[in-house]
């Protein structure tokens, strides 16, 4: 989905993980919305939105209560790719 305000505003305030990439490109950002994330995935995506040029990025989400282990899995997947990872939540 395009990383733009109208689409992000439709994301639920769930716990889960997300990935961001340039349109058609590789993942450049992965993060999670945990139990302490205000407004869940929507809140985390809204927080990064100002740093992203409108129209140039897209995102995907997975709603899951296993957000930490799934995030670890995503980080492992991209371990060798010099990917910027973001840790959302109170320590993020």
């Amino acid at each position: 989905m395009p990383l733009e305000l109208p689409t992000v505003e439709r994301v639920g305030a769930y716990t889960g993980v997300f990935e961001v990439r340039p349109v058609g490109g590789q993942t450049v950002l992965a993060g999670y919305a945990g139990g302490a994330s205000p407004f869940g995935l929507r809140g985390e995506l809204l927080a990064i939105l100002p740093q992203m040029t409108p129209g140039r990025f897209e995102f995907r989400i997975e709603v899951t209560s296993s957000y930490l282990s799934r995030f670890s899995e995503l980080r492992g997947t991209f371990h060798d790719a010099d990917v910027l990872t973001k840790e959302a939540g109170p320590d993020g």
Binding site: G35, A36, S69, E73
Partner: protein, 386 residues
């Protein structure tokens, strides 16, 4: 049995209790409710404090560089260390170190140098791979992974499932069949380096533990040198069960600690929360739940400490370890369930640690041998059956 604490035990327990109250709980309130690691900038300070207490690697024998504390005292310490949100699987966020894989205590000096000591220094990580898709509770029959001699080494082929900590580990203890199916004396334990060609993590498996996942492992013509056999060829079953039996006791102690913490929450909530003009504590329904909690906790604590005391005195403790594991894991599950009920809606939320304990305690009734296996062990001891 008399479990009155010695002055030294009181000292250790008091120090850990203060550490949890003054360091861990305030830190934890700032972390994600499912976090199992302290922030990198905080961890060295916590670890330093644990070392100053003389309790770093508190479950490691003195001859291997640990403080050489007996199992009973270890259990008393574990009960304190686990009394926080992450306490069941990440007591004090690992500040007190870890024994790593206790099976390596049986290793040769060369193996200890290459694997055990680096683990104790925090330089290497290992995993324990017994369970397979065909099962885990009956390794004599369930293990399908085969190890075949090749030159002066071995070649392993097969699959392991639900293996914790394999992703990112440097090596693993892998149990494979070196003889006939159904024969306990035909299993061998191998130390397998994770960078060995043919070894790979096939997939990760997410569980009720949010912060950690399990792995499915594949071994495709994995060559292991002969010097990486742990113990004797065909002696793997003994290695697995001997340490598993002992490990069940502190494993159970952690459950007791969580139950005690949950009970404290129940008592505090019952005294302050009012319904229909009176505190919950005045309601018989709540009183009985709190009493049932206390019965569960005291029985579980007694069973754990009795098993530990028997192990310390070099008496047979297989049955006592099974009873401790069975009683403590099931009792703690019931306690947390009741405390959630007492807390009502708040008990279901991630605002409180109860839902995390509820999920993680459910694993404890299966991990390290399910309740049914513990009952089998006790039945065999009582009836002399096989």
């Amino acid at each position: 049995m008399n479990f009155e604490m010695t002055p030294e035990q009181e000292l250790f327990v008091g120090a850990v209790r203060r550490f949890v109250r003054e360091e861990i709980l305030p830190l934890e309130s700032r972390l994600d409710p499912d976090a199992d690691q302290a922030p990198a900038e905080e961890f060295p300070r916590l670890q330093r404090m644990a070392k100053q207490m003389g309790l770093y690697c508190y479950d490691v024998p003195a001859e291997l560089g640990g403080p050489g504390i007996d199992l009973l005292t270890q259990c008393l310490i574990t009960i304190e260390m686990s009394q926080h949100r992450a306490g069941l699987y990440a007591p004090c966020y690992g500040a007190f170190g870890a024994s790593g894989l206790a099976q390596l205590y049986e290793a040769t000096p060369d193996q200890q140098e290459r694997y055990l000591h680096p683990v104790l220094r925090g330089e290497k990580k290992g995993f324990f791979a017994l369970t397979e898709p065909s099962g885990g509770s009956d390794p004599a029959r369930a293990i399908r992974m085969r190890a075949v001699r090749s030159g002066d080494g071995w070649v392993l082929n097969g699959t392991k499932l639900y293996i914790s900590g394999a992703d990112g580990a440097d090596f693993g203890l892998v149990f494979a069949r070196t003889g006939e199916v159904g024969d306990r004396g035909s299993i061998t334990c191998f130390i397998v380096d994770a960078d060995t060609p043919g070894f790979r993590i096939a997939r990760v498996v997410h569980t009720l533990r949010n912060a950690k996942y399990a792995c499915e492992l594949e071994f495709d013509d994995v060559r292991v040198p002969g010097e990486n056999v742990l113990g004797e060829v065909n002696g793997g079953f003994e290695i697995a069960t001997k340490r598993l039996t002992r490990q069940r006791i502190p494993y159970s102690a952690g459950c007791v600690g969580v139950a005690i913490a949950a009970q404290a929450m129940a008592i505090s909530w019952a005294k302050t929360r009012e319904t229909f003009g009176a505190p919950l504590a005045s309601r018989q329904a709540i009183q009985w739940m709190v009493v049932d909690n206390e019965l569960d906790i005291r029985q579980a604590r007694g069973a754990v400490l009795e098993a530990a005391a028997r192990a310390d005195s070099d008496e047979p403790f297989r049955m006592e370890a099974a009873i401790a594991k069975l009683v403590a894991t099931e009792a703690a599950g019931r306690v947390v369930d009741r405390v959630m009920q007492i807390h009502g809606g708040a008990g279901m939320t991630k605002d409180l640690p109860l839902e995390r304990w509820y999920r993680e305690l459910r694993i404890r009734r299966v991990g390290e041998g399910p309740s049914e296996i513990q009952r089998m062990i006790v039945a065999r001891e009582l009836l002399g059956t096989k």
